[in-house]
């Protein structure tokens, strides 16, 4: 048990530093990719005077279409890739904390965090099964 009444109460410093770092990397990477996609959108001249932001410019709805779109530098696919990186960031944060808690030998939180990750993955699989 950690001493109470000191700044050391609560989770360990190492886990916090790692979690904070993963979040920062995810956010910066995602914003960079989205900006690249927007630059491609402008470069291709897809935006016209009449078009609304939610107009029917086609965009990928699954990872396969997204990846093939990214390789052909389709702006919608590149922006979607940035959004997928953003969506993946909390998952990465959870996955990395399992490892961080294991290194700290805090087995209670290895179990807790693994459970959260399992539910997240189940959510994605079920989402595919529904439609």
């Amino acid at each position: 048990m950690k001493a109470r009444g000191s700044r050391d109460a609560g989770p360990s410093r190492a886990v916090e530093v790692v979690v904070s770092l993963v979040l920062r990397i995810g956010v910066v990477l995602s914003a960079t990719i989205i900006c690249l996609g927007l630059a491609l959108l402008v470069a291709r001249g897809i935006i016209s005077n009449e078009i609304r932001i939610d107009a029917a410019i086609p965009y990928p709805r699954d990872l396969g279409a997204l990846l093939s779109g990214v390789f052909s530098l389709d702006p919608a696919s590149v922006i979607s890739l940035g959004l997928v990186v953003l969506i993946a960031t909390p998952f990465a944060r959870v996955a990395v904390s399992i490892v961080a808690f294991a290194i700290e030998r805090d087995w209670r939180y290895v179990v807790v965090t693994a459970l959260v990750l399992t539910i997240l993955i189940a959510g994605i699989i079920m989402g595919k099964a529904v439609d």
Partner: protein, 291 residues
């Protein structure tokens, strides 16, 4: 100005405000960007909800990077309660596809109004006895679950100039509310941080700033649990979501810088006002007034 560029700029600006407010209040940006999209830009509710999920994840990841480092967010409390919010989010997202838009608006506003009652009471008691705010956190006896899972915490508060230590109580009740929070999140595309802040602040006795910071840490995971479902359904339009993501990220980084310096009661009053305004607006829209 072309419609696309104009709407892009409007969404970017609204999202910056949403990210800043969301990171301060533990709400995720959804609560502000959804009304802007549906009421002002007339974007379809499903597309708006998809972009809102992105806003929530961006607010959470952007601000939590700082909150975790500053120990304002308690990652053990967050991780433990995420089991419930993630379960709720998955079940909520599966239900959302079967419900109509106007009904969702009404549910959305009722969820928000419900969260106002205890917050209002706390503001009144804080303004009467100014020092009560942090005593509650210090004085409580930890319940058995909080003790077993090591849920106590401490952080340095620059606005008070001292270290705030706290212990938690009524963790099982807080956890039950977290499931409902996740359910609302999955159904409505909002982080339902209102419920999360409520559970930690009012029920579990966590200081308000730690509650909003920990809520911010958590809402990203809750939203990510639903985001995969929204993505495969085609509800995440990259052209609407791009300005939302960028604006919210910038706003949340700004908000996370100023939260430590603001007094707790100020956070709570802002929380109350924002939720009251949005709830009224969404209820009117859901009931078909002003359409």
């Amino acid at each position: 100005m072309p419609t696309f560029v104009c709407q892009f700029a409007q969404l970017l600006a609204a999202s910056f405000v949403a990210g800043a407010a969301g990171s301060l209040l533990g709400l995720g940006g959804g609560i502000i960007v959804v009304p802007v999209m549906t009421l002002f830009l007339h974007i379809d509710f499903r597309t708006a909800a998809g972009a809102s999920i992105i806003a929530v994840i961006a607010t959470s990841s952007g601000s939590a990077a700082a909150y975790v480092r500053d120990r304002l967010a308690n990652i053990k409390v967050g991780m433990l309660l995420e089991i419930l919010t993630a379960l709720g989010a998955v079940s909520g997202a599966l239900l959302a596809g079967r419900l109509a838009g106007p009904l969702l608006f009404v549910v959305f506003s009722l969820v928000l109004m419900y969260s106002l009652v205890p917050t209002g009471r706390k503001i009144v008691s804080e303004l009467r006895g100014r020092t009560a705010a942090h005593k509650a956190g210090d004085a409580v006896a930890q319940d058995r679950l909080a003790l077993a899972m090591g849920l106590e915490g401490a952080y340095f508060d620059p606005s008070l100039g001292r270290v705030i230590e706290y212990r938690l109580r009524r963790v099982p009740l807080g956890a039950a509310i977290m499931y409902v929070a996740g359910l609302a999140s999955g159904m409505l595309g909002i982080g339902s941080g209102a419920f999360k802040v409520l559970a930690m602040d009012s029920v579990m006795g966590m200081p308000i700033k730690s509650s909003t910071a920990t809520s911010n840490f958590m809402i990203g995971v809750t939203a990510a649990a639903s985001a995969g479902i929204y993505f495969s359904r085609g509800d995440i339009d990259p052209f609407v979501a791009a300005p939302v993501a960028l604006g919210v990220l910038a706003g949340s980084l700004f908000g996370a810088r100023i939260l430590p310096r603001i007094a707790g009661v100020g956070i709570r009053i802002a929380f109350f006002v924002v939720i009251a305004a949005i709830a009224a607006q969404m209820l009117l829209h859901g009931l078909g007034v002003g359409r």
